[in-house]
């Protein structure tokens, strides 16, 4: 067995181990019954906005429609120096007593969050990105879980709002997988991102951390890592539904994911003392190392694929140059010529497992997957994800921050 084959086997083993570990954790988990709320804690939902004129009104309307005592909900919309008509759109809500509008020079999402934090004394603070929309029951469900399980923060199940494009379908399956992963991370106490769409925190916990801070464009990961660092509890609730506007073009998707991945890598570096650290439990020993290895593995497999493809293209070119081009009817496939290497068999098992995990995510969050979501995800994702992984890895090496937009 040569070195490359050995490395491939080791990476496949780690990938399979991680999937099985998460699946076991998920299967072991027994949902605790939630208690009806005796009292409704006060909640402030912060909506940081930077050039969100097209979506922010819908976001605010979805918040206003939340089933929760009106006198307990405060919505703080922060215009973070938008250069479009976002502020004007926000002003149309100025007569709504539950909405507070703040306007600041562009200073980044974390500053917008901190500005809003300073404007509230609510028990719970949350964030809702201005391109996302909540289910009317989302808040009451989230608070019920938060109180029942006495957690410091809670993350929702995020879904793609309009999966009617190819990229929308791909992302819908990806988000369904994320629903499973977040749930499994919850079971193992390993949630390390509190995403912008509707993560809720105890205000006291956030204040004790000193609020949000600049963190390579992924402040939602930084605050979760700081919470984990201090042993705070972050949970997930798949029945808290949030819809988000997924990027519709490949360019915007690449930009978004490059920023996420770059921020992730940089945050991993900032919190490297947690990686492999038994003090941080499964997060330190299994999850953080496996996420890092998975980025490396994806790039490794892509490099292998590119190398083999180039080799075959060169062979094809040499053949055409030597004997010309001729079309042949494809031969009827014989069983003998089916690729049955251990790498192929392992890859098939891994893909089958991923499909099963997507269906679990779909099932626990009750998402209706677009019929094309899974086929498109399986066929396209392996080809598009390496672009942002590679881009982000290079940026991280060169310390070149990925742009927000």
């Amino acid at each position: 067995m040569d070195l490359m084959t050995l490395a491939t086997h080791i990476l496949l083993f780690i990938a399979l181990y991680t999937e099985i570990f998460l699946l076991l954790a998920f299967l072991e988990y027994k949902e605790k019954p939630t208690h009806a709320l005796r009292a409704y804690p006060s909640v402030a939902i912060i909506v940081p906005c930077f050039n969100e004129e097209t979506t922010v009104a819908k976001t605010l309307h979805s918040l206003l429609a939340l089933v929760y005592p009106h006198n307990k909900v405060q919505i703080i919309a922060v215009n973070d120096g938008s250069t479009d008509q976002t502020l004007a759109v926000l002003q149309t809500f100025k007569d709504e007593p539950r909405i507070t509008i703040l306007d600041q020079k562009n200073a980044g999402k974390f500053n917008a969050m901190n500005a809003a934090l300073a404007h509230t004394h609510a028990d719970i603070v949350g964030c809702l990105d201005a391109d996302s929309f909540v289910h009317p029951q989302a808040l009451v469900r989230a608070i019920t879980h938060l109180e029942t399980r006495n957690a410091d923060a809670i993350t929702p199940a995020i879904m793609v709002s309009y999966p009617n494009t190819v990229l929308g379908c791909v992302q819908q399956a990806e988000y369904a997988l994320s629903v499973f992963i977040r749930r499994a991370f919850d079971v193992t106490g390993s949630i390390f991102v509190t995403p912008g769409p509707f993560s809720l925190f105890r205000r006291s916990s956030v204040v004790s951390l000193g609020g949000w801070r600049h963190a390579h464009g992924t402040e939602d990961m930084d605050i979760a890592m700081r919470m984990q660092e201090r042993g705070m509890r972050i949970i997930n609730a798949p029945d808290v539904h949030v819809m988000t506007s997924a990027p519709r073009t490949l360019r915007s998707l690449l930009k978004q994911r490059t920023r996420w991945t770059y921020g992730g890598i940089m945050n991993f570096w900032d919190f490297r003392h947690m990686i492999g650290n038994r003090k941080h439990g499964t997060l330190g020993v299994i999850i953080l190392p496996s996420v890092i290895i998975s980025i490396f593995a994806a790039l490794f497999f892509t490099a292998q694929f590119v190398f083999i493809s180039i080799e075959r293209l060169i062979s094809l070119y040499v053949k055409i140059e030597t004997v010309g081009f001729a079309l042949h009817w494809p031969n009827i496939p014989e069983l003998f010529f089916f690729n049955t290497s251990s790498i192929t068999i392992m890859s098939v098992i891994l893909v089958a497992l991923v499909i099963a995990l997507i269906y679990i995510g779909k099932s626990i969050s009750r998402i209706r997957l677009h019929p094309m979501a899974l086929p498109l995800y399986i066929t396209l994702y392996p080809f598009i994800a390496p672009w942002w992984l590679g881009n982000a890895a290079v940026r991280a090496l060169l310390r070149v921050q990925a742009p927000w937009r």
Partner: protein
Amino acid sequence: MSWIRYLIAFGITAVIFATALYISDRLNTARIENIRTIQDNIAIDILSLETQFDLLQELSCTDIRENSVLSRELANLSRRLAYTEENLGTENEEVLQLKRQYTLLQIKDLILMRRVAQKCKLEPVFILYFYSNQDDCPDCERQGYVLTKLSEDYPQLRIYSFDYHIGVPALETLATINNVPAQLPVLVINDKAYSGFKSIEDVSGLVPNIEDLTEAATSTVKKNTPSAVSDTRERL
């Protein structure tokens, strides 16, 4: 932390992994067995034909030529062996063993076909192709494409391909009696060795009346030519 969960996950992963390795190994073994069976069948065919030939000197040429299964089987074997070599590697001992047997079968077939040609007063074209899988033959890939194309266009060409470094004494003898130089690729066409890459045009120029060889092997009985044994592989 639940160490039990870590261990169970490791155990399940190890079992799945070991199963995948086992299945893959079993399938590869089955593949090699399949090749071995084909080789055994070919060996029996050749032996049978040789025996027929020896027993019945007056055997009609048609009777001998009708044994065209042999050519198809050799081509079939060649494809399977090439695929197995690609997957298991050129250094795999079992692959090397199969290749040695295949080399011997080809040589035996060549000798037999020459005898058939002599008996039946035919003038077939035999092309012996000496190649290498090592770094000493940068043109072998292109030469292989040329020969594959020629075998498609002229099914009656009898092309035998030999790995120069396979280490079979009979092949070394064959190379010696045909004056095969060490500069690969080498083509031996009608007992004359040509070193270096030869294009389709070059080979066509070296084969007399190549345009007469365009008809498929199935028609050879009517044309009074021996059954075709062609190896259409690029490299093996």
